[in-house]
Structure formats: structure tokens, C-alpha cells
């Protein structure tokens, strides 16, 4: 990626190159973040596409004040998910065997990976909402502590405290299943 400010200026000028670059850099990360939040891959695909269209519509109101493009984009994604959860009636969940898009020839490996994803989705789903916000942005969205703080409008100190308590809770939930520590 170019430096943040020139990327932001390119987006504002509706430069196709800048948009293509941002799309390639962030689509998968935004998608993973949403997928973990809504727990359903089909809904997540739809919502991730909407995030980029919303970003395109609202780029004229984006003011460069040192806030990274990533934080701006994930804030749109965060708000979009909140809207979605407020309005959607059915709570959808992707079945365990359908998480992966894989052409892997090894069905055993694929099943194991599906199980890993499923366990993490379940474990994250049991955290408090504030803890989830941090964990999903940090580990699925790939944002830094500072970027997470900007998306959530919290101090970095508050994000660090939430990150700690969330990992303590996650560790308990994950270790109650398979021994994940041996896999790493």
C-alpha cells in the first residue's frame, strides 16, 4: 500500500487504481471480520460487498485527519453489522462443514480446519460484546491496537484491558475442547 494519506486522496478522487488497491488489501480482512461477527458466511459475503459500496458513497465526507483508511473502512463494517443485527430476524449460522472454500484434496484436513473455524466462532460468540469487538477487529480484521481503538472510539489502554480479559476467556473456552496448544 502507498502511504495512508496518498491512498485517502486517491480514494477521494475516485481513482480506480486506489480503489482497486484498497479492495485487494481489505476485502478478505473485512469479510473475515464480518463472518466471525455474524456467524454466517453467505450473509458475510453480502455485507462485505455492501461495506465497499457504502465506503464509495461516503468517501466525499471522509476527511484526512490522520485516521487510517483501515480504521475508517472497519468502522463502516462495524456499523453495518450493528444495523444488520438490529434488523435481521433470523439468526443464521453456517453449518460446520461449510466454512471453508477449499479445493483441498484431503477431506480429513479440510474437516479438521472446518472444526477449528467452528470452535473459534463458537468461543468468540460467548465473549461479552466489548471483548468480541476487540478480538474480531484485532484477529480477524488484522488491525493493530491503535487502529482498534480508533474504530471503537476507545482509548488504547481500554482496548488493551479488554484484549487481556477476552484472551483469558477465549483460552478457557478453546482449551475445554481439543488441545489446540499442541497444534501450534
Amino acid at each position: 500500500m502507498q502511504d495512508e494519506e496518498s491512498t485517502a486522496r486517491g480514494l477521494q478522487k475516485r481513482d480506480p487504481e486506489a480503489w482497486a488497491e484498497v479492495y485487494e488489501e481489505y476485502f478478505s480482512r473485512v469479510y473475515r471480520y464480518i463472518a466471525l461477527r455474524v456467524g454466517d458466511k453467505t450473509e458475510a459475503e453480502d455485507l462485505a460487498g455492501q461495506v465497499f459500496l457504502k465506503a464509495f458513497e461516503s468517501i466525499s465526507s471522509f476527511k484526512w485527519r490522520g485516521v487510517p483508511v483501515s480504521a475508517w473502512l472497519f468502522r463502516i463494517a462495524h456499523n453495518r453489522v450493528i444495523d444488520y443485527r438490529r434488523t435481521s430476524k433470523a439468526k443464521l449460522h453456517t453449518p460446520l462443514e461449510e466454512w471453508l472454500v477449499s479445493d483441498d484434496a484431503d477431506p480429513v484436513l479440510e474437516a479438521e480446519r472446518n472444526l477449528d473455524i467452528h470452535r473459534v466462532v463458537e468461543a468468540v460468540g460467548q465473549l461479552t460484546q466489548s471483548q468480541r469487538d476487540v478480538i474480531e477487529l484485532r484477529f480477524a480484521g488484522g488491525l493493530s491496537t491503535a487502529e482498534v481503538a480508533k474504530v471503537l472510539g476507545k482509548s488504547q489502554g481500554a482496548v488493551k484491558v479488554l484484549q487481556h480479559s477476552a484472551l483469558v476467556a477465549l483460552r478457557k473456552r478453546l482449551s475445554s475442547g481439543r488441545n489446540y496448544e499442541e497444534e501450534l
Partner: protein, 262 residues
């Protein structure tokens, strides 16, 4: 100042995610906190690893990308269609004068030297500006369609040269190539008197685009491959539209032929 455990945990996570450090390297830096840190870092790594396996289906990623670029194209089209405050003849003269000024300032030599420039070269903006001026002075819908095709072919040639010279392929080059092709299709589908020669040219262009993109696919790095695959899909769609147009032409001509006198 003594760091809190929350700070140390955040530092370790940043080192692992941004710098690629291992858990062991982090633990070595903080031996006193190692016992408490290790299980939390492993839980974090396990979560990251599982999350990284989640991928959108490629067809959804492509369709979301197409929607975004359609919005970009629509916006660009709206901008160019916006009436200018000047009268038609005044506008023409203003553009002509601007072109002459550009020629004087930049120099005829620079403009001709820019003809062989590629995206990323210093003279490439001169080349695309010259094309915009040429496009402005191209009159008649069929001539405009042919001009779009000429530019689409030029972008394809530039793409080949970039790959041959192991240079970076900007996504915008592929997007512009597809946009120019679509521009030609739009004009030809609205022009009921469009000649067979233009439609044939369009079919050759779209078929050639697909062939070249397929050939280049094996020669570009993985990152560029995704963009190339998406462009290839758009070329396939364009070719299908060109074929449809070719089949429609005889019927359209028939509909517009004067009926024989009784």
C-alpha cells in the same frame, strides 16, 4: 516506567502479528511474565489461524468487486455527461485552446515520446491526456466506438509489455481496458445503423483480450493473478455481448429497411 501486563501482552501480539516474531521470542523478552503470557498468546494465535482460513467464495469476491467498479464507472460517466456552463462551440474552442497550450507547454516531442510509455512511466499521464483530447475530437458514434476499441487494444498491448518486462500490473489498467471495451459495446448497441465491420472488430478484440489474459495468467505473480482472472471474466462477458450484438444486427437492419412499395 514499569509496563503493565496488558501493555506487555499488546506489545507481544503486535510483534507476532506485524513483525512475525515467534511466541518463544516474546517470552524470552519477558521471562517474568512468560508463564502467564504463553497460554494467552497461544489462544490468540489459534484464533488468528482459524480466522485466516475463512475466505469468501471467489465468485462473490468478483461480483462485489464488479459492483464497486460499476459504481465508479457510473460516477465517471455522470461526471462527463454533466453539462458544462459554456455553449457547445465555446466549449470546443476552450478544449482546442487547452490542447494547443498543452502542446506548447509540454512540447510536441514529449507528446510523441509518450506514445511508447507504460503505466508507471513519467510520460504515461501525457499519453492518456493526449488520448482524452483525441477522444473529444472524435465525432460520430461509430467513430467513437472504434476509438474506444483502439484504446482497449492499446491497454492490452501495454499489459503484455508490462508482464514481459516483469513490471507491476496496476489493477486500474485492467479496469480501464474493460471500461473502454464496454464503452464500445454500449455505443454499438445503441447505434442501430452500426456496420458489420465495427462489430467484427469488437468480436476480434474481445476474443483477443481473453486469449492474451489466459496466456499471461501463468506469467504473473499470485497477487496479480486474481485481478487478471477477474478481468478475464469481464472479457468473456464482453465477448458474449459482442456475439449477441453480431446476431442482432441483421434483424435490426431488417427492421430499419424501408418497406418495399406495393
Amino acid at each position: 516506567m514499569k509496563k503493565s501486563f496488558d501493555d506487555i501482552l499488546a506489545i507481544c501480539l503486535d510483534r507476532i502479528t506485524a513483525k512475525g516474531d515467534s511466541i518463544e521470542q516474546c517470552l524470552e523478552s519477558y521471562p517474568e511474565q512468560a508463564a502467564e503470557l504463553e497460554p494467552l498468546l497461544r489462544a490468540a494465535l489459534s484464533t488468528m489461524k482459524a480466522a485466516s482460513l475463512i475466505e469468501a467464495r471467489p465468485e462473490y469476491k468478483t461480483s462485489a468487486r464488479n459492483r464497486l467498479f460499476s459504481a465508479l464507472e457510473a460516477r465517471e460517466k455522470k461526471k462527463t455527461e454533466r453539462p458544462m456552463p459554456l455553449w457547445g462551440w465555446q466549449r470546443r474552442w476552450a478544449v482546442a485552446l487547452a490542447a494547443v497550450l498543452v502542446l506548447i507547454l509540454v512540447g510536441v516531442g514529449t507528446v510523441s515520446a509518450s506514445a511508447n510509455s507504460l503505466p508507471g512511466d513519467a510520460l504515461y499521464p501525457v499519453k492518456t491526456t493526449t488520448e482524452k483530447v483525441q477522444g473529444f475530437f472524435t465525432l460520430g458514434s461509430e467513430a467513437k466506438a472504434n476509438f474506444h476499441m483502439k484504446l482497449a487494444q492499446r491497454r492490452l498491448d501495454e499489459l503484455k509489455l508490462l508482464v514481459e518486462n516483469n513490471r507491476n500490473v496496476p489493477q486500474s489498467l485492467l479496469a480501464v481496458m474493460n471500461t473502454e471495451t464496454n464503452g464500445a459495446i454500449e455505443i454499438l448497441s445503441q447505434n442501430k445503423q452500426a456496420g458489420n465491420a465495427s462489430i467484427d472488430r469488437l468480436m476480434v478484440l474481445t476474443s483477443n483480450q481473453k486469449g492474451v489474459l489466459t496466456e499471461l495468467m501463468g506469467r504473473v505473480p499470485l497477487k496479480a493473478k486474481v485481478g487478471l482472472q477477474e478481468a478475464e471474466k469481464r472479457c468473456e462477458d464482453a465477448h458474449a455481448r459482442a456475439v449477441l450484438l453480431k446476431n442482432k444486427i441483421p434483424q435490426m437492419k431488417k427492421m430499419h429497411m424501408p418497406s418495399p412499395s406495393p
